[in-house]
């Protein structure tokens, strides 16, 4: 079974090409993604039909821009208000430090088992492995995450971690790992997983969750989810640790409804999710449930360096809806694992280089035809194609040099190719004179023309260039017409 053999691989961004090759050659993977993404695109289209989408996007973008403009102040405000509410706040510069903080919190409570709601930040910092090494088991409770964890994989999508698996594959995994019966009955499988998870919720010492929006004004943590596992994770165990990237802060409570509306509609086409949790404190005296302790870990992990660049800053507007992946023609065909990164697809290609450096991720910004579908659907109007180009520029060593690994893709061969192209294109008579026109274009295709012709016939240069055709045309139609000041006839071609 393809899904299971995948679990044996470790996917890395360095191997993008090989992984893309494998994914393209795997009909199951291709069919699963195509079907899933077609469905998600249709759902988004339908749910937005009765909305003034552009106005809402404009509002969402502005809310995020305002929050980012005041980010340092808002984070301090968030901290103060959380602390005032009884939520302890911790700051982590990188993933390692964040893992350590969480482990120490768990150890201080003598915790042996942790139940987790879905959190991409915890994936980003490899929290489960870290806890495991300290003898603490961490169980994912989001159904998709749970399946992916059972299958010893990483999520292939940020909203639907197990979207790469179809019903038969899921049944096989559950059968092999949990002893359920072989079936195509989705309700049976869901019920079985719920039963398996329920016991673990009750037994867990600590619940760990992500955060969708952290409200500075009130010190409130908002959590968007559909299965109730988020509510269980944050309410049942005696301690709740929320972990989030520092960019998730918003200024006011009233900023939340528009962002929530954009998030659910863009992600799964839902008007609202089944659950929307707002957490503002630990259990208060006299309350019947809720954790005794709540902690918030604010993770930087490269974000503040993005923050310092006025162009790249736009990356941090992201509300992690996944719409850019759903609509990306590349993601749709190769799937999330091909990227080899925590965040795949367009958002991953503009975010991961900052976390892993461009040496490791240099193929990601180029893995886009710049078709613009991602930018078109992004609910907070991140100019993703422009950011991809900016990172290509950094990778080529012609940017500002402030991205980790800048210049990683610059090669003597490629520079020479672009330089000769530049020479030709700035010497018009040489350009017109280059009768071997294919030669003119061989420099535009720096590395490999071979693979192009594996799939298409190679384009054939015309016998007469447009420059010459125009001269002939002008001679025929208006022999006396004056040529423009800048455009003398090309002597070479007469």
């Amino acid at each position: 079974m393809s899904a299971q053999s995948d679990s044996l691989h470790t996917f890395t961004p360095q191997a993008f090409h090989r992984q893309a090759h494998d994914a393209l050659g795997n009909p199951q993977i291709r069919a699963n993604f195509r079907r899933a993404m077609d469905g998600l695109m249709a759902k988004r289209r339908d749910v937005f039909s009765d909305w003034d989408l552009e106005t809402l996007r404009e509002l969402g973008a502005n809310i995020r821009l305002r929050a980012l403009a005041k980010l340092p102040t808002l984070l301090e405000q968030l901290e103060a208000n959380c602390e005032a509410n009884g939520i302890r706040v911790h700051w982590a510069e990188d993933g390692e430090q964040a893992c350590r903080i969480i482990r120490e919190l768990c150890e201080a409570r003598g915790a042996k088992s942790v139940i987790k709601g879905k959190s991409m930040v915890s994936e980003e910092m490899h929290l489960n492995a870290h806890l495991e090494a300290a003898g603490i088991t961490a169980l994912e409770s989001d159904l998709g995450e749970y399946l992916v964890q059972l299958n010893e994989q990483t999520p292939s999508h940020i909203i639907m971690p197990a979207i790469h698996l179809n019903t038969d594959e899921i049944s096989a995994i559950m059968q092999a790992k949990t002893g359920t019966k072989k079936t195509r009955d989705v309700d049976y499988m869901t019920a079985a997983a719920r039963a398996q998870l329920r016991e673990r919720f009750m037994a867990a010492d600590v619940g760990i969750s992500g955060v969708n929006f952290a409200v500075a004004e009130t010190g409130t943590l908002c959590l968007v989810e559909n299965e109730g596992n988020g509510r269980m994770t944050t309410a049942v165990p005696p301690m709740h640790i929320a972990v989030t990237g520092i960019e998730k802060v918003v200024e006011r409570l009233r900023d939340v409804p528009p962002l929530y509306a954009l998030l659910t509609r863009s992600a799964t086409g839902q008007h609202v999710t089944t659950y929307f949790n707002m957490i503002s404190s630990p259990r208060k005296p006299g309350e019947r449930d809720g954790p005794e302790e709540v902690h918030l870990v604010l993770v930087d992990n490269g974000r503040s360096s993005i923050y310092q660049d006025d162009e790249l800053l736009d990356t941090l507007r992201c509300i992690r809806c996944g719409a850019c992946m759903n609509h990306c023609p590349v993601y749709t065909r190769v799937g999330g694992h091909t990227y080899g990164t925590t965040y795949p697809g367009p958002i991953g290609s503009i975010l991961m280089p900052h976390m892993l450096g461009l040496e490791a991720t240099k193929d990601l910004p180029s893995a886009s035809s710049l078709c613009g579908a991602c930018g078109e659907v992004c609910p907070v109007k991140i100019p993703i194609p422009d950011l991809l180009v900016r990172l290509r520029k950094e990778a080529a060593g012609e940017g500002r040099g402030n991205v980790k690994g800048a210049g990683a893709k610059r090669s003597r061969k490629e520079v020479a190719a672009w330089k000769s192209w530049q020479w030709l294109a700035t010497h018009p008579s040489a350009w017109r004179g280059s009768t071997k026109l294919a030669g003119k274009f061989s420099v535009l295709t720096p590395s490999r023309l071979g693979p192009w012709t594996d799939h298409r016939t190679s384009p054939k240069p015309a016998k007469t260039s447009l420059h010459v055709l125009v001269q002939q045309h002008q001679a025929q139609t208006a022999p006396s017409a004056k040529l423009p000041a800048k455009g003398g006839p090309a002597k070479e071609e007469s």
Binding site: A367, G372, R448, D454, T457, A462, H467
Partner: protein, 256 residues
């Protein structure tokens, strides 16, 4: 992404920027574009010094090289006449990215002046010339592939189909996934040939399934990619080839 564009009245003269792909591979499309404009009573100036808009280097991240090439083009359009480009991607490059490329340089004002005078050919024919076409061809079913740059960067999803709709004998058929990229993307097709091939394969299947007898597009990159895929499979004996053509040539052929 796209803002409302105010269109000028029909001018007496325009510049024509032919694009490098058209110059080399599809020169007839360029000439047909010029003839369509001339038929509207417009004098077309083709600066012979033009080469390439600079886009290939720009999207590859080689902006120093792109800037030098673009700089040479900026010189070619000194008069305040519109600049007509028979390609959404080169048009988008000049209209949108020249401003980014020259921001903060002494050429910024010149780049902005060029940017605001750039029109894609079909856009210009519809919105400025208000062209009225008379179809002289045989009945035919045609599919239109609008490039992603024309559709999203320039906001011109409708101008091509509107022109085709004026042809009385032509039935415009819809392809599924009309808004999806054909997989060309300039150097993307070279850097990620297999992913690109998967995309163009889906595109050729969609065009085939549309029942069209031919397809037209206003971008030669897409044309080269899609037609190349059809031809490759045809040569391999796997399917019939669907003919493709630049929309300028198609319009000229059917109306002259």
């Amino acid at each position: 992404m796209t803002s409302v564009k105010l269109y000028p009245p029909k001018p007496q003269k325009v510049y024509f920027f032919g694009t490098c792909l058209i110059d080399v591979f599809y020169p007839q499309a360029g000439l047909d574009g010029i003839r369509l404009l001339e038929r509207e009573g417009i004098e077309v100036i083709f600066p012979q010094e033009q080469t390439c808009c600079g886009q290939p280097a720009y999207t590859s991240g080689y902006h120093d090289e792109a800037r030098k090439v673009a700089e040479a083009q900026l010189e070619l359009f000194p008069e305040p006449w519109p600049i007509i480009v028979p390609s959404g991607s080169c048009g988008g490059m000049m209209r949108t990215h020249y401003a980014q490329l020259f921001a903060g340089t002494p050429r910024e004002a010149q780049a902005l002046s060029v940017a605001e005078r750039v029109f894609e050919l079909t856009e210009f024919l519809i919105h400025v010339c208000h062209v009225v076409l008379t179809d002289k061809g045989q009945p035919e079913r045609v599919a239109m592939h609008t490039s992603c740059s024309a559709r999203r960067e320039m906001g011109l999803a409708e101008t091509g189909p509107k022109l085709l709709a004026q042809l009385g004998q032509v039935e415009l058929v819809e392809q599924v996934r009309a808004a999806e990229c054909c997989g060309f993307g300039g150097t993307f097709a070279v850097r990620h040939p297999e992913v690109s091939a998967a995309m163009v394969e889906d595109k050729t299947q969609a065009l085939e399934a549309s029942g069209a007898e031919r397809f037209v597009t206003s971008d030669c990159g897409c044309l080269m990619n899609i037609a190349g895929r059809f031809e490759h499979q045809h040569l391999a004996g796997e399917r019939d080839s669907l003919a493709g053509e630049h929309i300028a040539s198609y319009l000229w052929r059917r109306t002259s």
